[in-house]
Every structure is written in structure tokens, then in C-alpha cells.
């Protein structure tokens, strides 16, 4: 794509998976990189285009059942995302995008094969999980609590090859106990849409993974901090 020093971020299939303001994560990552003086290029790759395998960060968002199944099918056929992950790319997978990173998921009542890039599978819950979610993130990641809004009908079951992203303290997440999953440089979460708006520390984790930097220069997070404090309090627990 371009020079080695430029951070390349791909937004996967915005034509299919962009129901809930998912563009926000791309904008937030690009801004937080630019503020640190990291040259950044962003690419929105549509489902009728080949998926590049040489970018540094891949984002995949939420969507309805039909587009979710179609996206999984095309990503499996294309193979570019698998190659990128094998080469060590960082990934943030949200909601429907998170489910399709597992071995299987349900869409329109049918069990669909996933990418198998995270050791988990998803099925349907009896109720839809809608509302504020809050959780304590895996201490190994060294991040403050997760704050988000969830809206999904799925339940996700983790295999031994992944760790929960967080322990739920309010909301449902995977199953009422755990929320999201991570392994290597792949993060998945039910905290939907622009999840990074409320979790700038996760954005910076992705940037550190992608650049190999141990730390990043601090940025003025006055407004994200106010938003986080308000939403964490609103979620209770």
C-alpha cells in the first residue's frame, strides 16, 4: 500500500457491516494516531473488493443477519484477512463482526460457518441484550473498565483458545458473566458501534500493538473521560 512507517487501518465491508456508527472506531484510531504524529492511512474495503493482507489494524463492525452471513462467506472465500492475522495484524471486531470471527454463529435461524480466527461460537439467547454494559477488563491488558452499549440477540461461548475481554459488572455481554474475547492481537466485543469513543485506552492498545511502541504520548482526554465517568455511573454496579 504505502511506506513502511505509515500505519494502515482497514475498515472491513462498511457496505455490509455498519449499522451502528461503526465508522467512529476508524475515525478515533486515525485521530489518536495523528495526534501522536504517526502517519496514518485509512481504507474502507467494500465487500466486492479484494481484502488487503498487509494493513496493520483491521476493524469490523455490527450488522443485520443477512449482511453478517454474506460478510463471513466473502471473507472466507477471499482469504486476505486470514493472511493478515497470521502476519500479526491487530483486529477490533464488534458485535456481528465479533461473532463471525468465531467458529460458527446463527443468522436468520441458520448456523453459519465463521472465520475460526477466535476460539468461540455463538448462538441465540432467549432475550435480546440491550442497554449499558460495564466490565472489568482482563488485568493482563492493563486497561481501565470497559464501558459500552450492547444490542444483540446472540450468546457467545468461549473455547480454551481465547480469554474473556472482561468480567461483566453490568449488562449481559457473552453470557451475563463474561464479555468479549481476546487472543494475540485480536479483540472482540459486544460493546457495539463506536466502542472506542468510550474506551480510548483500547484504541491506544491497538495502536501500541500495531506500532510495537511500549507507550504513546498522552493526549487530552478531557471529554472522553467525562463521557466515561457519566456512562460508568449510569451503568451502575
Amino acid at each position: 500500500m504505502s511506506t513502511e512507517s505509515t500505519l494502515r487501518i482497514v475498515w472491513i465491508y462498511p457496505d455490509l457491516l455498519s449499522t451502528y456508527g461503526d465508522r467512529g472506531n476508524l475515525l478515533i484510531l486515525a485521530r489518536r494516531a495523528a495526534v501522536r504524529g504517526i502517519p496514518v492511512e485509512t481504507y474502507s474495503v467494500r465487500s466486492d473488493q479484494p481484502m488487503p493482507s498487509t494493513a496493520d489494524i483491521y476493524l469490523i463492525g455490527g450488522g443485520e443477519d443477512g449482511p453478517q452471513a454474506l460478510a463471513a462467506q466473502r471473507l472466507i472465500t477471499d482469504g486476505g484477512l486470514h493472511r493478515a492475522v497470521n502476519q500479526g495484524a491487530a483486529v477490533l471486531a464488534i458485535c456481528a463482526g465479533y461473532q463471525l470471527f468465531g467458529h460458527s454463529f446463527f443468522a436468520k435461524g441458520t448456523k453459519c460457518p465463521g472465520l475460526g480466527l477466535l476460539d468461540l461460537h455463538s448462538d441465540r439467547g432467549e432475550t435480546r441484550a440491550v442497554g449499558e454494559i460495564r466490565g472489568d477488563i482482563d488485568p493482563r491488558l492493563g486497561l481501565p473498565p470497559l464501558s459500552g452499549f450492547e444490542n444483540h440477540g446472540g450468546r457467545t461461548h468461549l473455547g480454551p483458545g481465547v480469554a474473556p475481554l472482561a468480567r461483566v459488572t453490568a449488562g449481559i455481554g457473552n453470557d451475563g458473566q463474561t464479555e468479549g474475547a481476546w487472543n494475540g492481537k485480536i479483540l472482540g466485543t459486544y460493546s457495539h458501534g463506536p466502542a472506542l469513543a468510550r474506551n480510548p485506552a483500547i484504541a491506544d492498545l491497538l495502536l501500541r500493538w500495531a506500532t510495537g511502541a511500549d507507550s504513546l504520548a498522552p493526549v487530552d482526554d478531557t471529554w472522553p473521560d467525562k463521557l466515561r465517568a457519566e456512562r460508568l455511573a449510569a451503568a451502575g454496579a
Binding site: G21, L27, F149, N151, H192, W223, K226, L227, E230
Partner: protein
């Protein structure tokens, strides 16, 4: 009308009057709620004998309803739910309050369209557009289109007036046997990249659209917007003079003219009446306070924010966001709106969810100032125009501060 319905109608009107007198609201919901408790079939009884048009869609339905009611006024008295109370309780209140009118134009919430078609046997149904709106509880766009399609297929006698520019609407309307197409444009494309029939990508060019995998494509519209006017099915162009701002309202006027034409009203007769509409339940209203000319614009979802930016002048702008029950509790949609048109305008923010908006604007590179109240906002700007763009309950809060301006 059966006795039970007469009693229910009378009680309904009394309750609405009491609600207004007590300053509790417009009375546009409570009356219908009580009336329907006494007679569950009251809406059907009140609808009987009237020629009715229903107007539904994600955006523009309150304005289009008001314009269509004004146009139909050429023929005689028209009952309408002009306060945006668009569920069956609101329809019942509106019809009870209006008494025996020969015509009615009712705005209908998208979710209730099937039920209200069943209960009111309308002559005309107008379908405006379908896009994302309050996804934390609303039906997803494709499911809504399917509900409409099924409802219309069950009522082949209904004349449908539908937006040719929105693939979701075109697909939904195909269940009907008599369709008039209008072109009111589609500013928001993100919810119709995938064909609802075949799942294939939809291509667009020069105002046209077509599915790449099945025969679904844009029908030829009989009514369309051109320059500051509307072209009717005979090809005649009519200048549209409105007090309402923006090209989007010319599209709403075209829709209203198409609806009225189904009742035999000619555009040339209807147009003078459209120009009398100045504001609708506070939308577009202008209020003078402390030397500021405050204009209210309602924006509920990504598509309507784009329209509001288009209508607003280059002037200080207050944005107010809530996320209460009628708004939906999820603010993710803020990232589906590009706030760039606000560059170089002084921007103030307020509302329950001002912090969500603050983070969004920062990412968008828009400078802003957070104010704690509407009063503070008014004091913070120099004399002259203040544009106010707010979502539903935030809009109602500000409208209340301005003495419930209509």
C-alpha cells in the same frame, strides 16, 4: 356510529380538553387512550365514512402530513394529527376532536402502519423513506420494509404514493396494485446498499439506481422536484413557494401534491395552501428573544441531521442531544452523521448526552462550547440568528422554554 363509540368519542374529547387546560400536554394522546379503553374499535368507527390518506416513513412524515392536509383542504374540512402524535391513540384523538370531516390525513409511525391500514381502510398510503432510527428498539430497516410489503399486499384497493429514490420503499410498495411514484431524493444511502429482494449490491449513478443481481430498479417517477418547483405527471412545472426551509421540504411538497392528486386536487389549486404552512409543532418555528432570532430544527436520526445542516444558515448553532425513551437510549448514530458542515460556525452543545456529542465533535475536528442550559446558550451568542438543532425530547424541552411554540 354505535352508542359505545359515541360515548367513547365524547369522553375522549373531554379528556383531551382537560389535559390541555391542565397544561399537561397537547391532549393529542390522552384523549385517544381513554377513548380506546372504552371502545377498542373506536379508531375504525371514527374513520368510517371519511376518505383517508396515511403518511409513513422514517423522516418527513409530520411535515408531509401537514402539507397534504393543507392541500386536501381545497376539497373541504380535513382531520389531521398535526402534533406528531402518530400512533393509534393519536389518530383516535385527532379524529374525535375534528368531528365529522369528509377527509383525514394521518401521520403514522412506521411500526403501526399495518395496523392503521387495517383499522382505517385508507384510500391512499404515502411511503416516504426508510432509514436507521433508534435501532436499540426499532425494527431493523429490512424487517420494516417487509412489514410494509406484507401489509400493502393484503390491501390491493389502497392507492400507494411512494418514493422512487429509496430502494427499500420501492421494494415495500411492490405489493400494491396501484402505485404513483414520486422522486423526493435520498440523501441517506447507507441503509440501502444491499438489495432487499436478492441481497446483491445496489449501484447508483446520476440519481438512478438498480440492483446488480435482480430486476429491482428505480421506477420512473410521475412527480419530481426540479429547481425550486415540482413537475407533475403531465410534465407541467410548478413553482413551489414555501415558508419552510431547505430543498427537502420541496420534496415533501411534491409528495403532498401527489397525495392530494389521488383525491382529485390539482397542483395549481393546492400550491397557495402549501405556502401558508409556517411551522409544524415547533419545527422550523422562529422565536425572538433578547434580540436573538431563534429557529428550531428537529433532527432525530442521521438522515434528518444531514437535512437540518442543509436548512440551517451560517450562524451560531446550538446542538442538543438527549437519549430518553422516545429518542432511543443509544447514541452510536452520532458517528453516522458527518458534522463537517458546522466548520466555521460557532457551535454550542447541551442536553443530557452532551458529552457523547463533545467526543464526537472533537473527533470530527469541530470546535464547540458546552453550555448547561438553553438560557445560557441564548446569552452566549450575539444578537441575530441562533439555529437550534435538537433530537426529539431535547427539542421538546427547548420548545417548552419557548412557551410551547407551534
Amino acid at each position: 356510529m354505535p352508542l359505545r363509540a359515541k360515548v367513547a368519542t365524547s369522553v375522549s374529547k373531554t379528556a383531551a380538553a382537560l389535559s390541555r387546560a391542565a397544561g399537561r400536554g397537547d391532549g393529542s394522546v390522552i384523549g385517544g387512550w381513554i377513548g380506546l379503553k372504552i371502545d377498542p374499535d373506536l379508531l375504525g368507527h371514527l374513520a368510517a365514512g371519511r376518505a383517508i390518506a396515511l403518511v409513513s416513513g422514517t423522516n418527513g412524515k409530520t411535515t408531509t402530513t401537514r402539507l397534504a392536509a393543507a392541500a386536501l383542504g381545497v376539497l373541504g374540512p380535513v382531520a389531521t394529527n398535526s402534533f406528531g402524535a402518530n400512533m393509534p391513540t393519536g389518530h383516535t384523538s385527532a379524529l374525535a376532536k375534528a368531528g365529522a370531516t369528509p377527509f383525514a390525513v394521518l401521520e403514522v409511525d412506521e411500526h403501526y402502519l399495518a395496523r392503521v391500514i387495517d383499522e382505517t381502510s385508507p384510500r391512499v398510503v404515502a411511503l416516504l423513506n426508510l432509514s436507521r432510527d433508534q435501532l436499540d428498539r426499532a425494527k431493523e430497516v429490512a424487517m420494516m420494509a417487509q412489514m410494509w410489503r406484507t401489509a400493502l399486499a393484503g390491501h390491493p384497493d389502497v392507492a400507494v404514493v411512494a418514493n422512487a429514490d429509496d430502494p427499500m420503499v420501492v421494494w415495500a410498495a411492490q405489493g400494491a396494485s396501484h402505485i404513483t411514484w414520486f422522486s423526493a431524493g435520498q440523501r441517506w444511502l447507507d441503509d440501502s446498499f444491499v438489495c432487499p429482494e436478492s441481497g446483491d449490491p445496489i449501484e447508483r449513478a446520476n440519481g438512478d439506481w438498480w440492483c446488480t443481481g435482480c430486476p429491482l430498479r428505480r421506477p420512473q417517477p410521475q412527480w419530481r422536484v426540479e429547481d425550486e418547483g415540482v413537475i407533475d405527471p403531465r410534465g407541467d412545472w410548478h413553482l413551489v413557494k414555501l415558508q419552510l426551509p431547505g430543498t427537502v421540504n420541496i420534496g415533501n411538497a411534491a409528495t403532498a401534491l401527489a397525495v392530494a392528486a389521488e383525491f382529485g386536487v390539482r397542483a395549481i389549486e393546492a400550491l397557495p395552501r402549501l405556502s401558508t404552512v409556517a411551522s409544524i409543532a415547533g419545527r422550523y418555528a422562529q422565536v425572538d428573544r433578547d434580540g436573538r432570532n431563534i429557529r428550531l430544527l428537529l433532527a432525530k436520526n442521521p438522515a434528518s441531521w444531514l437535512e437540518a445542516f442543509d436548512m440551517a444558515e451560517q450562524a451560531p448553532t446550538l446542538l442538543s442531544i438527549n437519549a430518553r425513551d422516545p429518542d432511543g437510549f443509544d447514541t452510536s448514530w452520532l458517528y453516522d452523521v458527518d458534522f463537517s458542515p458546522l466548520h466555521n460556525r460557532p457551535v454550542l452543545i447541551t442536553g443530557d448526552r452532551a458529552f457523547d456529542l463533545a467526543v464526537r465533535l472533537e473527533v470530527n475536528g469541530i470546535a464547540f462550547r458546552h453550555v448547561l442550559s438553553f438560557e445560557e446558550a441564548v446569552r452566549s451568542v450575539p444578537p441575530g440568528r441562533l439555529e437550534v438543532i435538537a433530537n426529539y425530547t431535547a427539542f421538546q424541552d427547548i420548545r417548552a422554554e419557548l412557551d410551547r411554540v407551534n
